[in-house]
């Protein structure tokens, strides 16, 4: 009883504080692992996809838990089970496919080793390193504004229409470079000018303030790779909106 109460306390603290959520999850890794193992009827190692699914399901349980709906751990167990079952259903679609790691008869080699490797590993690893650097830089600039990627993910528009509305505002800022300069100089989002210039409702922009901030930061100098990744989205939307 007393222990249960303590869990509820820490769950409610974890709802607000990312660090505490991480701590709570770390404390309950054995529980998560055991629930996942029960579900797939074999031992679940930390390398398994099911383990990652179980981890995020536990996090969802923390965010979605409500005190008056019962005990936390059974709820978390249920959520883990459901998410793993969902995941496995999705995977069955690929069941006809052969695993690359499958061993070929009469040899020690796997299928993966036999396939001619067209990818340039060295190029890829330098790319990865460059992307990582860009992201770290961006993350440092964002820290100046007091924003993390997690905040942005919570703040990101999910509906197609909202996303397009935000894209219109962002494109307006791209076409008017001085807006980006003022953003960097004053460390404040020039929301009024964005509303005026793009014609998008202020409420929409205000709701996704952090998201727009990060998207505008990406448009400032550097961040070529991220921009390349996004180019598809922004350029086409920009073309249609004018």
């Amino acid at each position: 009883m007393q222990k249960e109460h303590q869990i509820i306390m820490s769950v409610y603290q974890a709802k607000e504080d990312l660090q505490k959520a991480d701590d709570l999850i770390r404390d309950y890794i054995p529980f998560i692992k055991s629930e996942a193992s029960k579900c797939i009827s074999r031992f679940c190692s930390e390398q398994d996809d099911e383990f990652s699914i179980a981890m995020i399901a536990f996090h969802e349980a923390i965010l979605g838990y409500e005190h008056d709906r019962g005990a936390f751990l059974p709820y978390a167990a249920m959520l883990i089970r459901n998410r793993i079952i969902d995941f496995q259903r999705k995977e069955t679609r690929h069941q006809g496919n052969v695993s690359l790691n499958e061993e070929i008869k009469d040899s020690d080699q796997t299928l993966l080793d036999q396939i001619a490797d067209k990818r340039n590993y060295i190029q890829e690893s330098t790319n990865l390193e460059a992307t990582k650097q860009e992201i770290e830089e961006l993350s440092a600039v964002m820290a100046d504004f007091g924003v993390t990627f997690s905040d942005v993910a919570d703040n990101s528009p999910k509906q197609e229409r909202t996303l397009e509305a935000c894209a219109v505002a962002i494109n307006y800022a791209i076409e008017n470079k001085h807006l980006l300069d003022t953003l960097l100089k004053t460390k404040k989002l020039p929301l009024a000018q964005l509303v005026k210039g793009s014609g998008i409702e202020r409420k929409t922009l205000e709701r996704h303030r952090k998201y727009i901030l990060v998207m505008l930061l990406i448009q400032t100098n550097g961040y070529e790779i991220i921009r390349g990744h996004l180019r598809h989205a922004l350029k086409t939307k920009g073309g249609t909106s004018v």
């Binding site: 981890m55 995020i56 969802e60 959520l79 990582k132 997690s150 993910a153 962002i170």
Partner: protein, 275 residues
């Protein structure tokens, strides 16, 4: 297939950016920052259903309270409009005047054709009972229904005896004051339910102040004549009845009649009245 760049890695989840510019929280399948991945498992935060219910419940309470307030207000308003008592006034035109608890007239109906004619075009709304009576009598005089020596008959109808007693005292006094200068007439007051309680008071202009000076003795007027005797059934048996109706020139002299005095004496127990 959609591509995602991994932006940030946490223990339980990773933040990725898709090609449309969405940031998503996905299951962290041993991702590294900067990696391009496909086939992510997105985080779904369960919707909190009970919160909605709670707000609904609160709404229900509010709605119920609002309904109660409306009902109470309507009731109070209705009470104001409710007929508390009625007065049937007949000269020849007969009308029914409905009043509420505060003696404000809430309804006026003609009982016969002349009555309908009398109140035609007359606005009674939010007027006091006394005012309506006065104005109706003025109207009756104007239209020729009421003339010298006429008889006005008032029938009181109410649940409360107290109201009847007060009104049967107050109404004649009020009408006397109002009309004493204009006309000579008789007021007859009765109670609708108990027809035995008929009280008939003769009035003529000269005599209007009889309750003040003629008797001289204020004790008598205060205690017996005004208040209690009207409601006293034994009063009906007295001699006032027949002469008052027949004889308009009836005056004080009868009061001084020794026969009557003896009646008073026995009623009031005042021995020094005769002297």
């Amino acid at each position: 297939m959609k591509k995602y760049i991994v932006m940030e890695c946490h223990l339980s989840y990773a933040v990725v950016l898709d090609e449309d510019g969405r940031f998503l929280k996905v299951a962290n399948r041993n991702y590294k920052v900067g990696q391009t991945v496909t086939n992510v498992v997105e985080m779904q935060i369960p919707q909190s259903v009970p919160k909605e219910k709670k707000s609904r419940k609160w709404l229900y309470t509010l709605a119920a309270m609002a309904a109660c307030v409306i009902i109470v207000v309507t009731l109070v308003f209705q009470m104001g409009q409710m007929t508390y008592a009625s007065i049937y006034m007949s000269i020849n035109p007969e009308v029914r005047i409905d009043v509420n608890r505060k003696d404000i007239v809430v309804g006026l109906n003609g009982i016969n054709i002349d009555g309908n004619d009398l109140i035609k075009g007359y606005d009674y709304k939010r007027k006091n009972l006394d005012l309506v009576m006065d104005e109706l009598i003025d109207l009756a005089i104007e239209k020729g229904y009421l003339y010298e020596g006429c008889k006005i008959s008032l029938v009181l109808d109410a649940e409360s005896n107290e109201w009847i007693v007060t009104k049967s005292n107050d109404l004649p006094i009020h009408l006397n004051k109002y009309l004493s200068e204009k006309l000579t007439f008789t007021i007859e007051i009765s109670v609708k339910k108990a027809t035995n309680d008929q009280i008939i008071i003769p009035i003529n202009p000269n005599d209007s102040d009889y309750d003040d000076s003629d008797y001289g003795d204020s004790d008598y007027e205060d205690s017996d004549y005004d208040d209690s005797d009207y409601s006293n059934p034994s009063y009906d048996d007295s001699d006032y009845d027949s002469p008052s109706n027949d004889n308009p020139s009836y005056d004080d002299s009868d009061y001084d009649d020794p026969d009557d005095d003896s009646d008073y004496e026995s009623d009031s127990g005042m021995t020094d009245y005769g002297s």
